[in-house]
């Protein structure tokens, strides 16, 4: 069970002070503007601690809350978390339902937290796959926080990058059609005359709200992106950590940022080229 008092506790106390001192040293170097995370390892954590899977997911949600707060203190402006993939619907229906219940609980907690710290919350994904009550709560939260600019939290739910690309292509086609550019305006003599351009597709992406991530962290020791932000991660520092997600803490974040700073010049140069 997530509680508001846990969040208040993270923001205050001597641990917060030490953290801020540590982050002050980190801020001598370049700080990523956008961090994305694949929160892998909740079930392995539950198995290791001999607890049920849902308690493992609760611990994972708490770890995400910690990360959000650490990133706000560090000066990161965007955080994106891969909460639920379209592929995850293949899991046992009971597990999926429990994850949806946790999602609803998290939406309520984020509603409270967003007012406390002026956090803009965005849900990226095919939200039509969610139940009506979660959809409504998510939409209400997005609308109520749309004006906040200091910090943007994106929760990828019912998301895969391939679905995102397809959705963006569909929206681009509809837009061009609505603009009156039908088949008559399409020059078949040219080799795929580019009516729809990359910029058209990118503006319809679920993730258009944020710049491309600077760091993409995957916990759980895996080395793949699992259909998460593959379009947006061309010049992104990919970081794979052996630790499971609920055990991700401030020192893991510090390590990842230090690694990013070590490679910053190269990645920044590549970003300019691409």
């Amino acid at each position: 069970m997530l509680r508001e008092d846990i969040i208040i506790d993270i923001f205050s106390g001597w641990r917060s002070f030490l953290r801020k001192c540590l982050f002050r040293v980190l801020r001598v170097g370049p700080i990523p503007s956008h961090i994305a995370v694949i929160m892998d390892g909740n079930r392995r954590y539950a198995k290791k601690k001999k607890i049920d899977d849902m308690t493992g997911y609760d611990a994972g949600a708490l770890a995400l809350l910690h990360l959000i707060i650490y990133c706000m203190e560090l000066g990161v402006k965007y955080v994106t978390a891969y909460a639920f993939s379209i592929d995850n619907f293949r899991r046992h229906p009971e597990e999926v339902q429990k994850i949806m219940d946790l999602t609803m609980e998290s939406v309520m907690l984020l509603t409270w937290m967003s007012k406390l710290r002026l956090v803009r919350v965005h849900f990226a994904g095919n939200l039509q796959l969610l139940s009506a009550d979660i959809q409504d709560a998510a939409k209400r939260l997005m609308e109520s926080t749309a004006g906040y600019k200091n910090f943007v939290l994106t929760i990828c739910i019912c998301y895969t990058c391939s679905d995102e690309i397809l959705h963006a292509v569909e929206e681009s086609c509809k837009e061009k059609w609505d603009d009156g550019i039908g088949i008559m305006g399409y020059d078949e003599a040219n080799d795929y005359e580019r009516l729809i351009k990359v910029v058209d597709i990118e503006k319809h992406m679920y993730m258009a709200i944020a710049p491309d991530p600077d760091i993409l962290i995957r916990t759980g020791g895996e080395y793949r992106l699992s259909n998460f932000l593959v379009w947006q991660s061309s010049c992104c520092h990919l970081s794979s950590l052996g630790t499971v997600w609920p055990e991700f803490g401030v020192f893991h974040l510090v390590w990842v940022v230090l690694d990013f700073q070590q490679n910053y010049r190269y990645v920044a140069k590549k970003k300019l080229q691409l």
Binding site: V198, S234, Y266, K270
Partner: protein
Amino acid sequence: MDFSNESRVLHRCSAHVRDIGNLLLRSLWHLVHFIISICNFTLDIANVLESYLISSGLLGRYKSLHIAKLRYLAIVIESEGAYQTLKIIELLQWLEAVGVKHVCLYDNEGILKKSKDFILENLDGAILFQVLSYWQPSIYAMLDAHENNVLLDQQHMTLEFVSFSDGKEAVAKAANVLFMKYSKSGVTDQNQKEKIFTESQMTEALKTVGSGGPEPDLLLVYGPARCHLGFPAWRIKYTEIVHMGLLKSMNYGSLIKAIYKFTMVRQNYGK
């Protein structure tokens, strides 16, 4: 007057304190990064030693690789490395010796595409992988029907050369192909919320525009950082991405280790 002198002195003192504080912070930051560089150097030495042991066959578990699991390998090479054609040929020869038959070479600037003739000439029997359009007899139909048999029977190594233009720009081109279908089919009148295109339609459209190669099982990155540098996104959704370091420091043992680790991976695909 005394008061303004005092405030000036105070201001100067606080500026000095601030400068000293900043100097201390910068020193701490450089010290931390120096320690990390030492740790990385130590790890690199350990990796070199391990690679030597793997290459000389002293580590038993790396002797037999289940290479059949690695059906398609992609290699991302950063721009400086892409000019080292002889090194790339050596890497491909290692892969051929190990039994890897299908390799996709990627660099974002397309330097490898310009060197492809030289690479193919200097690699015995290697052939260029052609992405055939959906209306032609396609290697994909063969792969769908007899996938493993076709790959195992392959006498020669196939090489595919890919660059940044085969990524996002290819998706835009494919989008135009789909737009043609959309315009012709009359789906514009349907419920706007319904899905119009499927993933397989996008895959076919990408093949139509010449950028529809298979999804690699494993992607090796030769460069300073673990970064795929714009490898076509549609193809690396579930690909294992491993950082191998700089191309100039490549070694056989690390390659074997990366392939071995890949063969040990088990994916749930979200389940």
